[in-house]
Symmetry: C2
Subunit: 429 residues, 2 copies
């Protein structure tokens, strides 16, 4: 970790820079796969599965038998752990339900809003060595609470044509309605366009590599909603001398192991902490299996020493981290200063891993500075909030003249007339 002592505000932009992953050159590939799947449906999907995943899949839909087999395979202690995490995630997301409140804005004029589930949502879960069943929990649980009718999950098959059993277990536990063995651009295209086998969805969720990201961007251009713009994962820790350097080191390493493009930032008011954390990193790193990934991520990572924690928080707001750990004195009373962050972890015992898996908060969060203008995934991500209004005749009589005046001033006479014709009727009737 390169260390910067009292960086000036002019340096902040450079210090807040993320590694950017170029995706523009994938656009042509994405478009051609979408066009092929638009034209040739599941035949094209299977062709790309064969090409990219190196396996020929006859039945893309996961069968009940396959799910039962997976459920049987998962060790009981892991099942229990997944169930505990699921309960916490459920509890927290259920608390995000909005109770409609009718507001009488003018006497006789009632306004309120009600949530309705997005009918069909698509969840993408990457394949690879580490089965991200935790992302299944984070996306399917709020979808279920929202009341989404169809919860579609796509994940690439491995070399034996299967999806990791932990993913299947999490999917059946949380109420995913259909699971397909399809990955990459072809999965996103199938869920965007619909095929004879895979339904068209209204909104797409879930992590993915740069191909999946580029495909999701293209889906958005075609009219689908997506969860969040994507970027590599990141963590910023603000630490003062009340922190435990070993804990801080372990958190920075946990972020670093996500990928070589991950970024970890240590912000502190003490050079001594930087050196303590650095030496703890060296010690702990030696025992980690993903050492080369961790080392690559640490190359993009920084330790920033400011004169005060206050300035450190200002930098953090400027950086807008996906994850923010506050390992500082009286941390809970500092949170009103936090303006931009995806999820915040307060105090020495709130490690990022807790939120990644089991505390109950969602781990699908804005990266790459998007915490300035986007929220992480929540129950809100799976509903639309529809506004309703009811004007009693008295309400229109009270508010009608206001509407008539404004419509006339905007030169929208038919808008005015819709009011006038009603007021006239009320006057005569």
């Amino acid at each position: 970790m390169k260390t910067y002592i009292n960086p000036t505000p002019e340096q902040w932009s450079a210090l807040a820079k993320r590694q950017t992953v170029p995706t523009a050159d994938l656009n042509e590939t994405v478009k051609s796969i979408f066009n092929d799947i638009q034209k040739n449906g599941s035949t094209a999907v299977k062709k790309y599965t064969n090409y990219f995943d190196g396996i020929s899949i006859e039945n893309v839909a996961i069968s009940t038998a396959e799910i039962e087999k997976a459920v049987a395979e998962i060790p009981t202690d892991l099942k229990n752990a997944i169930q505990i995490a699921a309960e916490n995630i459920k509890r927290f997301h259920q608390s995000q339900k909005e109770i409609p409140t009718k507001i009488e804005t003018t006497s006789g004029v009632f306004c309120w809003r009600e949530s309705r589930a997005i009918e069909t949502v698509g969840i993408y879960i990457p394949g690879g060595t580490a089965p991200l069943f935790s992302s299944v929990l984070m996306l399917a649980i709020p979808a279920k609470i929202a009341g989404c009718k169809n919860i579609i999950l796509c994940s690439p098959p491995d070399k034996t044509g299967n999806i990791n059993p932990a993913i299947l277990y999490a999917a059946q536990l949380t109420g995913v309605t259909q699971i397909y063995k399809v990955g990459g651009i072809q999965a996103i295209a199938a869920m965007t366009l619909g095929t004879d086998e895979i339904p068209k969805v209204d909104k797409l969720f879930g992590p993915g590599n740069q191909y999946v990201t580029a495909a999701k961007q293209y889906s958005q251009q075609l009219g689908l909603a997506i969860d969040l713009p994507a970027g590599p994962s990141e963590l910023l820790v603000i630490a003062d001398d009340t922190c435990e350097p070993e804990f801080v080191a372990s958190d920075l390493l946990s972020q670093a192991e996500h990928g070589g493009d991950s970024q970890v930032i240590l912000v502190t008011n003490s050079e001594a902490i930087v050196s303590k954390v650095s030496s703890a990193i060296e010690k702990q790193k030696a025992f980690l299996p993903r050492q080369s990934v961790v080392e690559k991520a640490l190359e993009n990572s920084r330790a920033l020493v400011f004169q005060s924690i206050q300035t450190g928080i200002e930098f953090s707001n400027f950086y807008a981290p996906e994850h923010l750990i506050l390992a500082i004195e009286d941390a809970e009373n500092k949170i009103s200063l936090i303006e931009n962050a995806g999820s915040v972890f307060i105090g020495n015992y709130s490690c990022e891993s807790a939120g990644d898996y089991a505390s109950g908060t969602n781990h699908t969060l804005p990266t790459n500075g998007y915490a300035k203008n986007y929220s992480g995934v929540s129950l809100d991500s799976f509903v639309k909030k529809i506004t309703f209004q009811k004007l009693a005749s008295k309400g229109l009589q009270n508010l009608g003249p206001t509407i008539e005046l404004m419509a006339a001033a905007e030169q929208l006479d038919a808008h005015k007339n819709a009011v006038s014709i009603r007021l006239k009727k009320l006057q005569n009737g």
Copy 2:
């Protein structure tokens, strides 16, 4: 209005089709203007104002004197009307504030979320003959309630180099912090990139023509958030024989006058209502100044007669209208059937104009079928919701083993270690 009697489900897709406005061919224009403004800042902005608006603007920022002049020009009755509308909009959007609730998901594990304002928002208000000051209210009022620090407004200058006084009045009333005489692609580019005169914003709001729409799409690709994907305005009215055909006609016409690309749909269970509404349209149309616009919009418009209102509601959910009027018996008890709509108007006295101007609901709504996967603008649009979590040492002891198991199963050892190292400390300490 072309009438369809009992259209079969196979016909629904065609009947729900909107006029699509092609924007792809604007992409090159948009990109070149963005690049020029990126390189040449306000000089380029002024060049495009000169080119597109036919006026040379020295000071793009509106001065206090210009605002004072505008305030003095607005008639008192219009001022009063705008203030009444503003109060209602304020009341309804204030009711959307979320009160943070701490949830103890596991003993010693506390999760909650808090809203933070998006720091800098940009509001675009089109120019032209009709000054859309109502859109200023709909966007600046929730921005102010959210606590956005910088509320930037751009609107094109007219031929005399001014912005309509009603827009300026609404802007100063609602607390817009800076107003600039810039329109079109150059306004969106300036707010996206920032110039020496116009600040870079975090999120863009507001209506616009196809140039503005294409520019906002490009801004989104560059990392800005935008309010909603755009499309022409639309209204669907569901009416049974408790409706007032004259009222329904006036509502359809009020939507039709928005633009030739507007769409209005009448859904009913009675052919008699179609003919009554049609003849009321003919009568009322004769008195409207925007007759040619109205007639163009009516060409894309449809009357659909279903065997039951129930089926009509199903069609409406399929169509997902921006505005939905329920002019049916016992309308309020039918709203649980409404799945997809931007804003719903209940009963004979709830005309769309009320929501367009003054009832309190927002008029920035999803068009073009986006009501299936997007909500209209609300207080939520101006904030991020940050999740917070605090694990007491007891909380981590309770939940730690769960996290360790899950992290190990995802092969993320550093994630596991962040927990283990803390549990060890607690055990020893």
